[in-house]
Structures are given as structure tokens and as C-alpha cells.
Symmetry: C2
Subunit: 121 residues, 2 copies
DNA sequence: TTTATATTTCGTCGATTGGCGAAATATAGC
DNA sequence: GCTATATTTCGCCAATCGACGAAATATAAA
């Protein structure tokens, strides 16, 4: 039963739901998620660890970035059922819609640097 | 989004899951649930309030008892979907099986009285 | 190898949670 | 009305949670 309650608990936080909805749009790195949610890296990292621990999401190292994505066909059917629920829910939610717009326009090369890349000037 | 996270949070506690699984067997009063879960009345009452607040369960006053039952056709489709998930999950779980056996044999007239009913002797 | 950047881990803090018992409330039965 | 019983509400406590910043780690780039 602990397994099941852990799955529900993972989905019981708004920021984790937002992360899942964003990842259902596309793969994202930690800095992109932190930028959109407006949270500290360490906080986002912890949320991602919670979701990864349930196997709802996977991480993949890519150079200096760690890309997170939905576990496309999780071995656990319960996880698949929950992800399907989340995918069909909240599609008209204002925050979710705004997050999607942000996901489309976010650029990791710009946002991740504390010292912004001087593109011109 | 608060609505959805509240639903998941309601299901993120093992005792609340046990309550739902028991109510999916039959209607129960607070003292029966408290007896099976081995928790204080006040604790069970709070768990039931959390579930009732999501409209997953309904309460019905019946004399000195308050009977709780699953909301048979909740207006909220999300609630129906989650209850369906819980119903299909955990049916082989040892605790759930034991709870079901207890639900079948529990007798509110016996367990609820601190001073047990002197049936004979 | 040094430096910059992306991420995770660690320690801390205030808020929430789940437990309890005591007190308050509601109803049944006398 | 009085008493017993079932339930809820209240106040408390320890544990967990979500947030942060600082420190540690890993990789890219110079």
C-alpha cells in the first residue's frame, strides 16, 4: 500500500503537477523548469527526485545538462494510469496553459546563465 | 489545480486508502472504522472529514450513528476516475484483505460500547 | 588545470500533517 | 430532564514537507 500512497503523494503538490504537465509537452532541463516555476534549483531538484523515485519521470545526462522526461512506457501500470489521468486533466487550467506557452518559448542557453550571454551590445 | 492536488493528497495516506477500500465493501460507521484501523475516534473522524471534503464519500446520520459510504455517482468526474482506480488497485494487498474480513465480521453493537453489552453472564 | 556552469546534497526554517486525549455536541433511551 | 453513547472539535506534540541558500559534485570550455 505504501507504493500506492507514495504515487498519490507525488501528485499532491501543485509544483510537481506543473512539472509533469510541462514534461508531457517536452523534455526539459532543471534550469528551464526552475525558471518557469520561479523556484530555486535545489527545490526543483528535490521535486524531480520525488517524481523520479516513483518512476513517473526519467533523467538523462546530456553534456552539462540533465534532461528530464516522462517515463514513456513505465513498467508499472499504476504509474501509466496516473500519468494518463494527469494528461487528460487540467488542460484548460490557466497556470498550465501559461506554463505551456513558457515551455515553447524558453531557451536554456539564455536563462541558465547567471551572467546572461551577451548576445549583442 | 488546487482541486486536483487536494484529491491526490486525500489518497496519499494509507489509513485513508484503507477507509476507502473498506467503504467500497459496504457502508460503515465511525466506530467500526476506528475499531478496524485501531485508531482513536478523533483521528478517524478527521480522516473522514478529509475524504468527505473531496466528495469521495458521503455521510448519513442514522440514529446515534453516522454512516459513511462511497459517493456512488459523484458529480465530479475526476473523483469517479480516482475511485475507480482505487477500486481496481490493492485487491491482493494483505492489509486490505484483512480489513475486508474484519468488515464482514464487525458488529457495531458490540464494539462501539466502551462498556460491552452484557449479552449473557 | 583552471574556470564557469548545471545540478545535487546538506542544513535550516516555518507550515502542514497525523496522531492522541479532553471537551463539546447530538441523539437514544430511560 | 437525565444518562449513556457516538461523533466532532479543540489543543497539543512529533514528524514530515516544501522552501531557501550554501556547499559539494560533475561536466564544458578555456
Amino acid at each position: 500500500m505504501r507504493r500506492e500512497t507514495k504515487l498519490f503523494k507525488a501528485l499532491s503538490d501543485p509544483n510537481r503537477i506543473r512539472i509533469i504537465k510541462m514534461l508531457q509537452e517536452r523534455e526539459l532541463c532543471v534550469c528551464e523548469i526552475a525558471d518557469i516555476l520561479n523556484l530555486a534549483y535545489s527545490t526543483v531538484s528535490k521535486h524531480l527526485a520525488v517524481l523520479r523515485d516513483t518512476e513517473m519521470i526519467l533523467d538523462r545526462k546530456a553534456g552539462k545538462w540533465v534532461n528530464y522526461r516522462i517515463n514513456p512506457n513505465a513498467g508499472d501500470e499504476q504509474v501509466r494510469e496516473l500519468l494518463a489521468l494527469v494528461q487528460q486533466w487540467l488542460n484548460d487550467d490557466a497556470t498550465v496553459c501559461a506554463d505551456r506557452a513558457a515551455v515553447r518559448s524558453v531557451d536554456r542557453d539564455i536563462i541558465c546563465n547567471i551572467t546572461p550571454k551577451k548576445e549583442n551590445t
